[in-house]
Amino acid sequence: MNDRIRFKDIDDDKLQRLVEAALFVADKPLSVQSLKRDFLIEYRVSNLKIRDIILAIQAHYKGRGVELNKVASGYRFQTPTELSEDLAHLYKEKAPKYSRAILETLALIAYKQPITRSEIEDIRGVAVSSHIIKTLTERAWIKTVGHKEVPGRPVLYASTQEFLDYFSLTSLEQLPELVPMAELTGEPSKV
């Protein structure tokens, strides 16, 4: 049923050009898998080789105007944080601001996932409005991952890959560590 695929050889130089071009034109991060599947399909090339090429590109762009970053769903070219000040006047105002209610709900879902709405409400001490859940869902930062087997079978929320991508994280482990209370108060902990 398939058109026959004949694999072609590709030299490192050409491969690097292609991978670089693909990463630049893609509108989302590309993983090694997706580079291979969507884009290098005609070529005989190993995952290891693609990873090597990515490392070479990363090295090449060190200290330039854009850098190749790894985020949760793959690699993408983005401007380094040091340049954000200078690029900011044009773009920063457009960046949406998020309320504390949204950020706290997001933090609870990110750190305590999977978590139900009432568990979030319990910790925050206030009701979580539908608006908050809607905003976070629309941004694709959270998703439902099932139901908790308690009366009412409430929905369980978890964070998404898009959430990690947006904050330039590769995994949940990279989230800032939760600071225990004693350190926050700065007072001597009880002995």
């Binding site: 998020y98 997001l106 910790i123 925050r124 800032p176 600071v179 209370m181």
Partner: protein, 289 residues
Amino acid sequence: MSDTTESTLENAVLDGTKASGVMLQQVLPFAFLRGEAIVDKPQDLFIPPDALEVILEMFEGPLDLLLYLIRKQKFDILDLPIAPITTQYMAYVELMKDIKLELAAEYLVMASILAEIKSRLLLPKQAVEEEEGDPRAELVRKLQEYEVIKQAAENIDELPRLGRDNFMAQVELADNFVPHIENTNVDLQELVAALQGVIKRTQAFEHHHIQKESLSTRERMAYILSTLKSAGDKKCYVDFSDLFTLEEGRNGVVVTFLAILELIKESLIDCLQTEVYGRLRVCLPKLAE
């Protein structure tokens, strides 16, 4: 109730559960704060009313307000002085009501929780100990848990964010770019169905059912025509015998022969013999003219 009684009671409850060093630290500010806090409004409240509204709107809920009061007064969260906190909290809640701020029910629930803790602290030591220990414990745990998340939310807010701190590079494709068109998949059954459709519509095939034999003959007909066409440039004819492949055996020979006959019948090829008993040659009609 008098301040001294409450103070003694509070200390009594804490006695034995807290290290003495911590105790000493806490006793002094207690007395001082209580003298101020209970008779007067908390210092925090000397804020212009319109500014107050803005501040009150900033609280994410009763836990947030409590944390604010605790931090503002530099109270130790682990050794929460319930009386002054309750007083200050109630003052804020009253103010919220006064300026008709939409007050979430949670604020009133918290007020009653604080009042309850306060009253339980007033009970004699033994009575309290018989229950689950420090009546403040649950509230303190909640405050701690909330503060950790509050901090985590601030940390998340400071993470580099796409479109705010980092911008994604976007490059246009070259002008000559055309996307690859993926071929449509066709199922063999679709093909059969299509033909059935034609038959059904036109009944054109009524008299010649397509059978396996005729199909293989038809295939061979197409093959012979291709052979003649590609030979056409050079030789203009093909030897009759060259059209047969002996390896195919008797069946193959029969099929080829039937194909040639059919082609001749349909005037698609011509068969020539230039001399008597000479070789039989096959060619496309154009060349026969």
